[in-house]
């Protein structure tokens, strides 16, 4: 019996963002954009979805008079990611 993979995470860009954020304490939007090779528009939409799911926290502030967006994974985001990886492993290790 396999659990369904979390639909919020089972999407390329959202999973990429979560995988980056799980490895660091916090990251700037520009860092996520560079590492995922996504467009700013695409990334903004997916970040908003992750934020609405409560998986990430988005902090908007100013740095040297320029707007800066910082993303941080939340504890429920960490739990969801761990659950996703666990389910993924279960799928991959199932006998064929």
């Amino acid at each position: 019996m396999f659990n369904d993979l979390d639909p919020i995470l089972h999407s390329q860009l959202r999973l990429a963002v979560m995988s980056l954020l799980i490895s660091v304490k916090e990251a700037e939007f520009t860092f996520l954009k560079e590492k995922t090779n996504a467009t700013a528009g695409n990334l903004s939409v997916q970040i908003q979805k992750l934020k609405e799911a409560g998986y990430i926290e988005v902090i908007k502030q100013f740095k040297d008079n320029y707007p800066q967006t910082i993303c941080k994974i939340t504890s429920s985001g960490i739990r969801a990611f761990e659950e996703y990886v666990k389910n993924l492993q279960a799928y991959l290790t199932q006998p064929k």
Binding site: L5, H10, S11, Q12, L13, R14, L15, A16, S19, L20, I22, S23, V24, K25, E26, A27, E28, T30, F31, K35, T36, N37, A38, N42, V45, Q46, K63, D64, V85, L88, Y91, L92
Partner: protein
Amino acid sequence: MEQEKKLTEQESLHLITMMINKAKDSYHDTGVGAMMWGAVIAVCSLVRLSELHFGYRLPFDIYLLTLAAIIPQIFITIKEKKERRVKSYDDAFIDYLWLGFGISIFLLILISNNIFNEWGAWTNEYKPETGKGNSFGFYEFVAPLFLMLYGMPTFVTGAACKFKPMMWGGLFCWVCCIVTIYTSIKIDLILTALSAIVAWFIPGILMEKEYRLYKKEQAQLNV
């Protein structure tokens, strides 16, 4: 990267691994701070050695240079922090480790000066009777203590950042710490200078080289 592309399980796992590796490779220290401190401590030790060897005295204590080096270090830290677009879990730990090291060095200087002043006054009282001066060399006494402290944050930083030259540098400081217990002040100063070069200056050069390579790669990727 398309936002709604559905992934197979294998693709998901591959993506997670790839992104975690990318995140790991996201920050490189410039190495400027390490190089500066390595050079400052080495210069201070060698100048003090030349003072002892050639019998002259500078009009100021050369170790004041370490206090002056705090100013550029503050600017280096602010600049590096500004440039960073990502904070890792290790960052805060390493920052507090080196802050703790700085405070420990300050306390060690304070304690040693205090002990030496009291010891000096006590031996001076007995000088007219014994006819002997103070044979207790202050620098000879503190060199192993400084080297012991130098080794600790260097070794831990090297281990935490998986940067072997710093780990070896920390170990080198501890070996020199043991050696300096038994050697004269001049050898102590040479070993202190050597430790600063091995523990900080050389790793700093290697870090700077890696940082430049990383910047070059990033520039090529963004073309």
